[in-house]
Amino acid sequence: MRASSPRGLALVPLLALCAIAAVLVALPLTIDNPYALHVMILLFLTVVQGESWNVLGGYTGQYSVGHAAYFGLGAYVTLILLQSRQVPPWWGVWAAILLAVVVAIVIGSITFRLRGPYFVLASIAVAEIFRLVALNWGSMTSGAEGILVSDIPPLQVAGRTVTDFTSKVPFYYAGFALAVTTIVVNWGVKNSKLGYYFQAIREDQDAAHSLGIALPVYKNIALGISAFFTAWSGAFYGLYVGFIDPGTVLSVEVSVQFVLICIIGGIGTIAGPVLGALLLVPLSEALRANLLSDLLFKLGVVDEGTPTGIFLKDNLAHAHALIYGILVVLVILFMPDGVLGFARKLLARRRGQAPAAAPSAAKDSA
């Protein structure tokens, strides 16, 4: 047990979490707006992406900027099995995840002897190799054309059709379950021997080595867990959106997004990716739906009829990646510990002391 306070979740945050979960479960039953459901599904997906990257990047300190490799692998294997062999996705996804984990461990065994920036470079190179293979292996992946999901077979349980996937609701619940699972696993890892060892590796690899931590083993475990959920999220994305191609699931932008979610929210914490998702998803949706330019017009900051106004209206929707870039720069320069770290520092300064660590279980459970 920790010396300074009881281990495990404190009661109040736990109750709050349960309340939030209950609301989320009830949401599709009360709200009939497909767009709202869509945004929530994107939110769940983004949370899973962030949490899964966090295991390798945040806890273990191995910054992969090539996670698109596993995301894309999950998407492609699941969809290829579905389209060419009619394998229902709830079986296909397991094949995809298994393959992704095996591939991850192979890559990890090769690249983990590299440190810091060299590891980053290798991860990018690996993802690029995957993308080029997908682009050129036309017979398997249809190359640049991509793969279109024609039909997801209806899900049958005990002879009754539960859903035929025509509405967003099954994706909502599947996404919710995925997000909850990922968060729970993350919490479990963080409060276990694995979590301690991962963080030791992040803090000082040689010191960790000298304390009995077999570096390749634990780094690969972290990567395996990370790849597991990343591939799962890729499969989910492919099934939900219904179309994938090398540019959308294997590109550097995808890899950067994985990192961005955690950087913005706060690396190495459980709440961080959730926060990052809560910031990024509404932002990109607002951009896409022209909400941002509409807001600027309504506030009178810019006049809709002027050249600037027209320009904004036409282009802000596509400024997705530009905003990402600006966010990354701002966060790195001014909030390298993410929003969470920044808030923590503010709080500590207000209490007038250097930030002492709160027990990790309680602080990271909410």
């Binding site: 300074s4 281990r7 301690y196 030791a200 803090e203 000082d204 040689d206 080595h209 000298s210 304390l211």
Partner: protein, 242 residues
């Protein structure tokens, strides 16, 4: 008493440079061996060779009769040989308690057990009150003690201390000396690299002197203190400035 560690004709080459050259000595179980020599003599390199960070280019290291060449540092630690670092290495963003728990987790999978072991070691070095503090914010004296507590949590049979008194004031150094003697009373063998001559003379049962990668001599503290060659090695170093 039996020798717990035997270093036989160990050499380590980096390209053309011989950082260690034909070094041999043995350490009796439960004893404290002082390892001294001017800067650049190869003391830390020797530690790295013994604990698996470098494989020796030549020679052999035997721990309780078992050949250690080529074992990885984590294996070495699991077998009971642990080391501290010349430039102290706290796991900065983790708490003091978590730091020591990382050490304790080597022999258990349960956090509760590791936590108990960790608190025990922290009490031993007098830092249990600092448990929730972030390791990165500690002053140097406490960092050194933390590193000792952390490494003790791995339940070593032999402990290699690399300039554990480096950068400490006399009061802090005295605390460390007492700690080393207490560790000895627990039956743990120690090899201590140190520049503080008075301290080494006080605590060591035997002393090995390295110079320019080679073993210059070894013997009892009073023999070493009187040895002309040792004095010259240090003085020569001071005049050359190397």
């Amino acid at each position: 008493m039996a020798s717990i560690l035997e270093v036989s004709h160990v050499s380590k080459f980096f390209g053309g440079l011989a950082a260690n050259s034909d070094v041999s000595f043995s350490v009796e179980e439960g004893a404290i061996l002082g390892l001294i020599g001017p800067n650049g003599a190869g003391k830390t390199t020797l530690f790295n060779c013994i604990t698996g960070f470098y494989p020796p280019s030549r020679g052999e290291v035997r721990f309780s009769g078992r050949r250690m060449n080529g074992l990885t540092p984590d294996r070495v630690c699991k077998l009971g040989m642990a080391r501290t670092w010349q430039k102290v290495r706290p796991l900065a963003k983790m708490t003091v308690l978590d730091n020591v728990m990382v050490g304790a987790l080597i022999h258990t999978n349960r956090l509760s057990v590791a936590s108990a072991i960790a608190m025990e070691q922290l009490r031993y070095v007098g830092m249990d009150g600092r448990a929730p503090h972030l390791a990165g914010g500690l002053p140097i004296g406490e960092r050194k003690k933390l590193e000792v507590a952390r490494v003790l949590a791995t339940r070593p049979r032999i402990l290699l201390l690399d300039e554990v008194m480096g950068g400490l004031n006399p009061a802090e150094s005295e605390e460390i000396i007492q700690l080393i003697l207490e560790i000895k009373s627990r039956g743990i063998t120690q090899i201590v690299i140190e520049h503080d001559m008075k301290a080494i003379m006080r605590i060591s049962d035997r002393i090995v002197v390295l110079n320019s990668g080679e073993k210059l001599t070894e013997g009892l503290p009073r023999e070493i203190g009187a040895d002309e060659r040792v004095i010259t090695a240090y003085l020569g170093q001071a005049f050359d400035g190397h």
